[in-house]
Every structure is written in structure tokens, then in C-alpha cells.
């Protein structure tokens, strides 16, 4: 397995990544006075050009360039390869610059490029240290840099952005227009368009803090939680069924979804949000909320009929570990399941140490029992007590009744006796029992029976019990965890205990023996505490990057689930650390943080391109302008309901079922199975409430890049394909909503065609249409009537359909 070939190909990957990154991000090289970053700029050169003779496998001349000690030390030749601070005395530089054949390094291939040599020199001048990958280092506390155009800076974020722009000789784009700004802010925070009234109010508000008022209003909107919950649900691979043959439902999965929405709307601190999901049942005082949060562990795929049960069990745990590491830490620990991580310093041991934290969890269930390990009762204590009392009474009555019954049964014929052991028991008892009992016994039986009936009635009058999807019946003393050789659970190796990845140099994990009668092992709270500790090197960086990603259109780190060395380096590492520190200092409060992002001048820039920017930084690595984006699948569907006037703002509760056409349902082995029927009003609720069935994703969502449900999604695709056009033109949903849209216009804008077109465009595009737009719409309606013999209503409907298909409707400036 670990043949030279395999290893070689992995080494090759690194430099190539850099070639490409150079291509993606031409401005990423450090400015002249900055120290090059070892892992980003230097290590790739060493790996690519030097390691084959001076690396982990070979040390020709005594030199290993994967090891600082060797490089800083005296070599066999007496030279020093890297003399910190002194490039001119470093053999490494002398040798790569040498013109002599046999002297020059590397001996094969092209010499190093001048810019590569310059990087090496600068790195040595700055100390020539073998430093940890940036994300694995403790967070710095950078101060906002000095800038010359101080007038542009509204808050420290802008200083970080502007400093880089000024260095690159670029100017930030001018401020966005008010319409673009309110649309951007409203969509980004709530996932919905602003209403024409909200736009008008903002346009008319000439006060200094008009925009701030909008941001404050939006942060209070309950739609904020609905929209941002969906971002989180992508990351934790939320779905409400198990996949595989039966793709059976996960009862009460929607309560986890509601928990996320509520947590965000309540502005729950992020560290608490994480602790509740990872260890809500192990907190000192578990709450209904924190138990519901542990539904996190129950969201993954689960095979109720596994071919290899042991492997399936480890796959289930792998799903949890992979998601946890990527979601909270931006680490691809999953790569170390079968062997040491090829790129990051994560040995296979780390994988199983981390896995050990979850060993107290039971599997989701078995085919015969699909609830008892994943449903916790959270009814009010009084109700739980009432149920317990009723049940105790039921049990005692049933026992007494059976005793009396038995007295009769033993006197019955063999045939009748047999029947009492089958489903026919009640029938036999009803017909025959009295005949085999004496009068006293019968009276006693009748009394019992009456009482049993009373208890049954009592029970039926109790409020229903409430259950949540969660972890439950955990194992306080989990069985040992072993390293599985090559990831094969049938070949256990050495035993390991819970522990954090070694690269963090964390203190060893100490978990006290659970007390007698403890319900859980207490391991997950230790993990949660470590992840949410303010000085965890990744947690804060990872979450601020996600918040930035969904506000600015891309993360500062473009691979939000992978902060490792194979991920994409941050375009603004200093800013990222400043933001992370800022979040932690602000008590992990997300709303305050959002406001800060949105109040920056960077956020308020126009998305308009200009020649200098497009030429020098076409990928917008430096944020010289705002990024345009297409609405997400849910945003498109919600916006359609919003403009058609049907959006139902009802929040929370069990999932809804939009109509799915028979042609699509025909793909199921039992068409329609597992898909309910919702009223038209219910269907017009926000898309976050749509039941997520793994094998049957609602077509309009699937068409517009709803994420794969079975593993964590860090960033959605935004594809453009003809099936989207077909669905938006001919699909039943688009047609139906266009008709509702037309009815709304007729209702709200009177008979005048121009007024109708005006209203339609205000609703859909959030702006005041110009004359050219009005003429366009009126012209289309007239032509449909004249040339195609449509009546007024039909023509208006077709016009509405086209409005819903406009690029301007789907894209944000």
C-alpha cells in the first residue's frame, strides 16, 4: 500500500496545488517586506524539488529538509544548509544558485525559478523556521494595520481589507446603491427579498444611521434564524430519513431543525450551541433544548440491514467523527481512518483517539427497534409522572386480571387453552371465561375490568408524550477502542483511549471514572469543552470563516471544512484571526458579529467591476469589490412565494410536503411512499421546513443545487443547466406560482397594464422599474394577446412566469 509510487503521487499533489493556487490567486505571494509563510510558500518548493534526496526517506549528505534540526545543523560537508537570518551563508541558497553542473541543486530538471529562490532567501532572512501550518498554530492577536485612506475605514475589518488593497495598488469599489444594499442585507440575513415598502422606507430615510436601522431590524427578524439554520444544516448533513432500501423516517428530526432555528434567533452563544450538540446530555444541567441538540448525532445515514454489521457500526461512527471534525474544526481527520494522514500531521492513532470520545453512543437502532436508542421523552415532569402512575396501575390491574383469567383457563378444554395462547385469547375469554369461574371470581373480574377501563380512559385524556430525536441509553463504561489496521474493523490493533489530535499539543485527556449509576461516560463533554475552549486553534477561526462565507459570498478560507494543508490558504489570515478573537471576546455572540461584518465599508461596496480590479485581481482575492451571487435553492423557492404573495410565515413544526409530480415519484420503488400531502397554504411555508427525505429531494431544490444529504456540505455548487430552465418555464410549481403572482397583480395594481408591470417588477426586483422595463413588460403582454390570442389573465400569467425567470430576480449585486 505505502509503495513508493503512492507516496510519490501524494507529494506531487502539493506543488501542484500551489501551481493552481498561484493561478487562482496571483496576489497571494507575500509582499516584499512580509515573511513568506513556511507551509504556504516554502514547504511546497522543498517537497517538490528537494525531498526525493533530502526528505523523510533519504538524507543524502546528512541533510533532511523535512527537519529543522538537520537543516540548521552542520552537514557532513561542514556547511550549514539554512543559517537563520543569513541567506548568504546558507548552503541551500548557494547550491540552488550555483551554475556548476554537479554542484547545482536540484541536480535534475530545471533550476529553481528566480522567484522561488527569492522566497527561500526571504524566508531564511526572516529566521528560516520550520513552522507549523498556519491553521495549526495558536491564534495571533493582530491589530488592524495602518492605512493611508483612513476615510474609507468604518471599522477594523476595513483596515485589514484596505491595507492589502493599498499594497496591491487597488482601490475599493464605490459604495453600493441603496437598493442593492438593502436587497443584499435582507437576502443575506433572512433569505428573503425586502418588500417594496421596506425598500421605500430605506430610500426615504435620509438619516445617518438609516442602514444601521435596517440591519438591526433584520437581526431581530425570525426569518434570520430560518435562513442561517439552513447554512448549519448543510454542514451537519441534516436529513429526516435513513437512506438505503427503506429510507425510513427519523422521528422528530424536525425538532433538531427547530432547535437550530431557535438557537440562532435567540442569539445563543456559539460555544454553548456547540456544547449542546456534542454533549447536551452530559451538561451539568441538561435542558429540553440541550437534549434536543444531541439529535446532531442521529442525522446521518443508517443502514437498517447491514451486510457487515461491525463495518456498518464503524461507518456510522466514522460519519459522526468526520462531520464533527470538519464542521467544528475544519479538519479532515477522516483521511486517517485507514492510514496516517498523507498531508496533515494527523497519524492514524489520532483518528481512533478521537473516535473513542463517541464510543459511549449506541447505534441509531436496529431494524426491529428503531426508536429506543434515539428518542428521549421530554414531556413536562408532571406529565411524565402521570404516565408513570397510569402505567403502574395498568400493570398491576393486568396482572390481577391475568391471575383470575388463569383460574378459568386451566379448566378449559385443551383446544381452548391453546387458543388463549394466540391472538384469539380475548375472543375466547369473552365467550367462555364466565362459564369457568365461580360467582365471586367473576364479580371480582368484572370489578377489575371496569377499573381497567377507567384507567384506559384516564390515559387517553393525558396530553400526548413528547419525544425528541437525541442520544439516549448511552454506555457509561464503553468497551475499549482499538486502532483498526488499514481501517478494517475486523483487524483490531493497539488499544487507545480518548485523546485530541497530537498536533495541538493539548494536555492529555483525563476522564474520571463515571460514578456508579452514571448514565453516560462523560467523554463527550470533555471533547466539547476542548472544542469550545477560547484558545482552541481552529473552532473560532472555522466559524467566523463560515459567517464571512455566507455574508461575502466566499470564505476567507475557500475550503471551509478543510483548514489543513490541502485546503485553500486564507486570503486574509490576519483578518481571520482578528475576527476569531473578536467573536470569542464578544462572548461568541453571532448577531453582534454579523452586525460588525455588515457595518463595514467592505460589506457595503458595489459589486461593479472596474478595469484595474478585473485585470490585477480577477478572482477578487483582495475583496476590491463585493461578490455577486445567485440565490440558493431555498431562496429561489421562497422568493417565488414571496412575490406571488403566498409566502406563509408560519414557523416550526413537522416537515411539509410540496407536491411532487407522478413522473418524479415514479422513480421510487413504491411511488409516493414516505411523502405526505400538505395543503397549498402549508406548501407555501419556507423551504427550510420541507421534509428532507434522502432519496426524494424536492425537484426545484435538487435542480438548484440542494446539497448532497449524506455528508457535510461546506459550500454549495451554483450550477447553470438546462433542467433548471425547463423546470422554471414548464414545471407545475413555476406555472402555478406565476398564476398566483398574476392574480396578486390584478388584485393590487388595478386594470392598468403598466401599473401591473410596475408592481410585478417592484416585487421581484426590489427596485423602481424604469420606462424601458415597463415598456418591455407591457409590450410582451400586448404581443401575447394580439399574436397568440391569450386573454388578459393568461398573458399576465406568462409575463409573470418570465419575471420569475429573470437573471435579475435570481442574482444579487
Amino acid at each position: 500500500m505505502h509503495s513508493r509510487h503512492t507516496r510519490l503521487s501524494f507529494y506531487l499533489l502539493l506543488p501542484l496545488g500551489c501551481v493552481l493556487l498561484g493561478f487562482v490567486a496571483p496576489t497571494l505571494a507575500p509582499a516584499a517586506d512580509d515573511a513568506p509563510d513556511f507551509s504556504r510558500h516554502i514547504k511546497p518548493i522543498l517537497v517538490k524539488r528537494c525531498f526525493s534526496c533530502h526528505g523523510p526517506d533519504k538524507a543524502e549528505g546528512g541533510l533532511r529538509l523535512n527537519d529543522q534540526k538537520s537543516a540548521h545543523g552542520e552537514l557532513d560537508s561542514g556547511e550549514v544548509a539554512v543559517r537563520p537570518g543569513k541567506p548568504e551563508e546558507s548552503a541551500l541558497i548557494a547550491r540552488v544558485l550555483s551554475r556548476e553542473e554537479g554542484e547545482r541543486m536540484p541536480p535534475e530538471g530545471e533550476p529553481l525559478k528566480p522567484e522561488e529562490v527569492a522566497l527561500l532567501k526571504s524566508w531564511i532572512a526572516h529566521g528560516g523556521k520550520w513552522e507549523l501550518h498556519w491553521a495549526f498554530r495558536p491564534r495571533g492577536k493582530p491589530s488592524p494595520p495602518a492605512v493611508s485612506r483612513t476615510g474609507w475605514v468604518r471599522n477594523p475589518i476595513d483596515a485589514f481589507i484596505l491595507a492589502r488593497l493599498e499594497k496591491a495598488g487597488l482601490a475599493p469599489a464605490p459604495p453600493a446603491g441603496k437598493v442593492a444594499l438593502i436587497r443584499r442585507a435582507t437576502q443575506n440575513l433572512t433569505g428573503l427579498p425586502p418588500s417594496p415598502g421596506e425598500v421605500r422606507e430605506f430610500l426615504n430615510d435620509q438619516s445617518e444611521n438609516a442602514y444601521e436601522k435596517v440591519v438591526d431590524r433584520l437581526l431581530k427578524s425570525p426569518h434570520y434564524g430560518e435562513h442561517w439554520a439552513r447554512h448549519w444544516l448543510d454542514v451537519v448533513r441534516f436529513a429526516e430519513t435513513n437512506s438505503y432500501e427503506r429510507d425510513g423516517p427519523k422521528p422528530n428530526a424536525w425538532k433538531y431543525r427547530d432547535y437550530v432555528i431557535r438557537s440562532l434567533n435567540d442569539d445563543k452563544p456559539y460555544d454553548q450551541f456547540v456544547r449542546e450538540q456534542l454533549a447536551g446530555d452530559e451538561l451539568p444541567k441538561p435542558t429540553v433544548d440541550s437534549i434536543t441538540a444531541t439529535g446532531y448525532y442521529r442525522l446521518g445515514v443508517w443502514d437498517d440491514e447491514p451486510a457487515d454489521p461491525l463495518l456498518a457500526r464503524y461507518d456510522e461512527l466514522d460519519g459522526i467523527l468526520t462531520t464533527t471534525a470538519q464542521a467544528f474544526l475544519g479538519l479532515t481527520i477522516n483521511c486517517a481512518r485507514c492510514h496516517d494522514h498523507k498531508i496533515d500531521p494527523i497519524p492514524q492513532t489520532d483518528y481512533y483517539r478521537m473516535l473513542a470520545f463517541f464510543r459511549g453512543l449506541r447505534s441509531y437502532g436496529t431494524r426491529a427497534d428503531q426508536t429506543s436508542c434515539n428518542q428521549t421523552e421530554i414531556s413536562p415532569p408532571a406529565l411524565q409522572t402521570a404516565y408513570q402512575q397510569v402505567e403502574r396501575r395498568e400493570r398491576s390491574l393486568d396482572k390481577s386480571m391475568r391471575e383470575v383469567e388463569q383460574r378459568g383457563i386451566v379448566k378449559m378444554s385443551a383446544e381452548e387453552q391453546r387458543k388463549t395462547e394466540t391472538r384469539e385469547r380475548q375472543q375466547v375469554l369473552k365467550e367462555k371465561l364466565q362459564a369457568y369461574l365461580d360467582e365471586t371470581e367473576w364479580k371480582q373480574y368484572e370489578v377489575l375490568r371496569a377499573e381497567r377501563e377507567t384507567v384506559r380512559r384516564q390515559r387517553s385524556q393525558l396530553a400526548p408524550r413528547e419525544m425528541v430525536l437525541s442520544v439516549t441509553r448511552c454506555i457509561a463504561q464503553p468497551s475499549p477502542t482499538h486502532i483498526m489496521l488499514r481501517g478494517n474493523p475486523h483487524v483490531p490493533g493497539a488499544e487507545v483511549g480518548p485523546g485530541f489530535p497530537q498536533l495541538f499539543d493539548s494536555a492529555p485527556v483525563e476522564i474520571s471514572q463515571p460514578a456508579a449509576g452514571a448514565k453516560t461516560s462523560g467523554r463527550r463533554i470533555v471533547l466539547a469543552d476542548w472544542i469550545t475552549s477560547p484558545d482552541n486553534r481552529l473552532t473560532a477561526r472555522v466559524i467566523v470563516n463560515r459567517l464571512w462565507q455566507h455574508q461575502f459570498g466566499r470564505g476567507i478560507v475557500r475550503s471551509p471544512n478543510n483548514f489543513g494543508q490541502i485546503g485553500v490558504p486564507p486570503t486574509h489570515p490576519q483578518l481571520l484571526d482578528w475576527l476569531a478573537e473578536n467573536l470569542v471576546q464578544g462572548g461568541w455572540r453571532l448577531k453582534r458579529f454579523h452586525k460588525q461584518l455588515m457595518m463595514s465599508a467592505a460589506y457595503r461596496m458595489s459589486s461593479q467591476g472596474n478595469d484595474a480590479g478585473l485585470k490585477n485581481d480577477p478572482a477578487n482575492d483582495l475583496f476590491w469589490r463585493f461578490n455577486m451571487r445567485r440565490l440558493s435553492a431555498e431562496e429561489i423557492r421562497d422568493a417565488i412565494h414571496f412575490v406571488s404573495g403566498r409566502l406563509n410565515a408560519k414557523m416550526y413544526g413537522p416537515g411539509i410536503y410540496p407536491d411532487i409530480s407522478p413522473e418524479v415519484l415514479a422513480g421510487q420503488s413504491r411511488p409516493g411512499e414516505g411523502w405526505g400531502k400538505s395543503s397549498l397554504e402549508e406548501q407555501a411555508r419556507r423551504s427550510v421546513y420541507i421534509h428532507v427525505k434522502r432519496s426524494l429531494i424536492t425537484p426545484i431544490l435538487a435542480n438548484f443545487d440542494f446539497p448532497e444529504t449524506d455528508s457535510s456540505c461546506e459550500a454549495r455548487f451554483a450550477t447553470t443547466q438546462p433542467s433548471q430552465a425547463l423546470g422554471m418555464l414548464n414545471g407545475a410549481f413555476a406555472q402555478r406560482e406565476a398564476a398566483f403572482f398574476a392574480e396578486r397583480l390584478a388584485r393590487e395594481a388595478g386594470e392598468d397594464r403598466a401599473a401591473r408591470v410596475d408592481r410585478a417588477l417592484q416585487l421581484a426586483l426590489c427596485r423602481e422599474p424604469g420606462q424601458v422595463d415597463i415598456d418591455w413588460g407591457v409590450g410582451l403582454i400586448e404581443s401575447l394577446i394580439q399574436k397568440h390570442q391569450l386573454d388578459e389573465k393568461q398573458a399576465l400569467t406568462q409575463f409573470c412566469l418570465i419575471v420569475l425567470n429573470l437573471n435579475e430576480f435570481l442574482y444579487l449585486d
Binding site: 438505503y244 459570498g553 467591476g609 418524479v664 420503488s669 449524506d710 425547463l726 414548464n730 391569450l790 437573471n807
Partner: protein, 492 residues
Amino acid sequence: MTPRRTKRTGASFCRRTRREFLWQAGGGFTSVALASMLSQDGFLASQAVAADGTSAFENPLAVKPPHFAPKAKSVIFLFMYGGPSHVDTFDYKPKLFELDGQTIPVKTKGRGGSRNEGRVVGPKWKFKQYGQSGQWISDLFPHLATCADDIAFLKSMTADSPIHGSAMLQMNSGKILSGSPALGSWLNYGLGTVNQNLPGFVVMLDPSGGPISGAKNWSSGYMPATYQGTTMRSKGAPIIDLKPPRGVSRVMQRELLDALMAQNNRHLAGRVDNSDLAARVASYELAYQMQEHAPEAADLGQESPETIRSYGIDDPRTEDFGRRCLLARRLVQRGVRFIQMYSGGSHNDKNWDAHGDLVMNHNLHAGATDQPIAALLKDLKRQGLLDETLVIWGGEFGRQPVAEYANGTGRDHNSYGFTMWAAGGGIRGGVSVGATDELGSAAVERPLHVKHLHATILHLMGLNPNSLSYFYGGLDQKLVGVEPIEPIREII
């Protein structure tokens, strides 16, 4: 340095195009980034022109060069859902006839769990040798038997699961875990499609319903939705949402699209650096063309009465599968990359899952498919298409030599050994690879795994199965998994 490296440089990274690399790397499809990326490909220029509605749409399905010269250009995968019994179809086991009814020790694992003995159910159909190659084929397939010399049998297939759900996923995506891209997605990702007016990955379902797990079987998994399978029907509107609603004529739709384009172009002015906007305009034109081309492709009325008859479309028993086979040939002619057809759908005896009455079940499903499949092979050959069309036949697993229940002929699932076959597209006909034991209970000679089949398909299509990869979750994901897998050379 190494060939592998050469392949990775230039326009692709881990066999991803630059666009996909950006999707992966960039918090979604960052339009601004694309502007720069694509302008270097000349993409932007063509897209900007596409806004005029005359230029071609360029999408991620654009044709990409294979790793090496391919033998086949298209694949037709005839999926016998439910698991056909190999010992009753192509894997001739004389010994089983003798043992009929006897209880013997044999290790099996199926839906009913693991067992160590069972009552042998003798094969219910006679076997004969056919063609110059003398291949054994049972009486279930009188028509197919006439194609024996074109077929290569894989008689030692194995899979990791004897349970429908996970075994289907493995046959379709290489993994028993849910969430990975299907074979058809991999091919379209690797090669693109030559006909932009039709989907590159077509799935045709049985009228009784889809297979279990439904759309999971043709999902693009962690790849963009661009590569997912499109279900296509041989009756009515062939593709979902293809047909404009009642009252919307083609002329009228043209006018609607023109209006849409006019307004979109106004929006585009001042945003010309955003290639997404232009691409979206162009995608409407492609949709418009698909409305014309897809029904034309699906119009079997253009075929001669002899052709119709040869596929059995005039016989109620074979009509449906015959229509689909004929449609498959028409799609291959039009450059569709991967077509999958399900024989059987829904549950139990609606597919090949013969737990109860083997005779009834297999007569039904073989009867519905034998003539159409033979007609397809002959038709492809006649049209000169067989050489470049790889036809695969098989289910997610086979069936056990012993009975599942105390009474009856039903057989439980068997993933330890089963038979699949391949024809056309660079396959050497008239050969047979591997063997099961004398009972047909497990592969013993040259055991083949689903991965070998996948590797063979990719190889024949000009892709190196061990280097076709997609970066996801920190890993270079491959259809055939981490370990290098060789294609089945004996049949190439």
C-alpha cells in the same frame, strides 16, 4: 515526470476542470473568480457571445479528452434489478440437477441471514451450448442465445452485500455507503457528452416503479447536479418538464424566451465580467433546443415496422422493454454517454427477486427482456454501432443454489458468486471468465469484484480507473476506491 503528473497539470486538477476546482474551492461558484479563470479558456468570450442566442452553450458537460483512445463511446447498462439467478440463466451446473431436493452442506448468506446447509433447488431450465464458442445458455433466453458469440460472460462476480439496498448502491456507485456518484456520473464527469441537446446520463425505469432507494441509484453524490442521471420515458413526454404547458405553442415560447433574453441582456450590460449571467441566458436556449431534439430522439415512429417487430414492440409481453431498448439505440446514435435501463421495479416479484416461485418470476422477467435485448445487440451490430457501444447485463447480485423456504423453488440472494455479461464496445465475444464452485454458491476461479467491472467499463471508455478522481472531503475519491484495480483483460 510521471504520466500521472502530466495529466494533472494544465486545464485540470485531479481530473477536475478549472471550473469545478473553483466550485470546490470557492464557497460555491464564485462568479468573479470564474471571469478570470474562464477567460483564459476562451470560455468567457464564447459565453459573452452566447448572450446573442446564436452561440453554443458551453457547460461542464462539454466533451473532455479521454486518458487514452477509447474502445467504446457509450454504455448501455441493462440492470436486472432484484438479482437474476445465475444457475438458471448462464452458469451451467450439471451437478445441481442431480442434487435437486437434497439437503446438502453449503455456506450461504442472504436476506435470511447466514446458513450452513440447504435444500438444493435444481435449475428449472435446460441448458444448451450456442454459437461457435459453445457458450452455455438456458432456455430462458432463446433469442439472446443467438448472440452467444458476441458476449463475454463474467461468471465469478462478487459483491460486498447480499442486501438489495447496499448492493444496488455498490453496483451503481462502487460503494455500499450511501452518498457517492453513480457510474454514469463518473463517465460524464470524465468525458462530458457530445450531444448538448440530450442528457448525458439517462435512466429508464420499469413501468412497475423505480428500484429501491430510487433516485439514490442515479445520484451524482458529492459531484454537482450537472452529472446526475435524468429519467427518460419511452412514452409521453420523454423528460420531466420538457413539454410546455397546454396553451403554450412553440412560437409563443420562442417569443417568451426572446423577451426574457432582451431583459437579461439589459441586466448583463455593466456586469459583463460575470460569465454566470451569460451562461444562464445560454442555458435557456439549450433547453429550447432540447424540447425539439429530445422528442425527436424518442420518436419510435421513425423506425421501420420490421425494426419495431424485431424488438417485440408489437407483443404486449415485450413491448415496454422493447421500446426502451430501441430508444436506447436511438440515444446511442445521438451520442448519449450512459444509458441505464431497469428490468423490474418496485418490490418482490415485480423484479427478479425470486424468493417464492422462481419459475413464475424468471419466466416473467426473462420473457419480457430476452427478445428486446437480442434485438438491441443485432440492431447495434447492423448499424455498425456495436463496436463503440458497451452493453452490460446483470443485477446487483445472483441467487443461491438452495431454497430459501421449506417449500417451493424460491432462492435467496447471493453476493458470493454470480454472473454478468458484456458485449460490444471493445469486448471480446464468445468468452467466459471465472467460475463458481460446482454448486454455483461462490466464485472460486478468478473471483471478480464489482470494482473490476467498473474498472473495465472506465477503461473501455478511455479512462484510467485508477487516476479518474474527484477531490472531496480531503481525499481524491475514485469510483474503484483507493487500491489500484485492473480492468478484466481477458474480455478486452
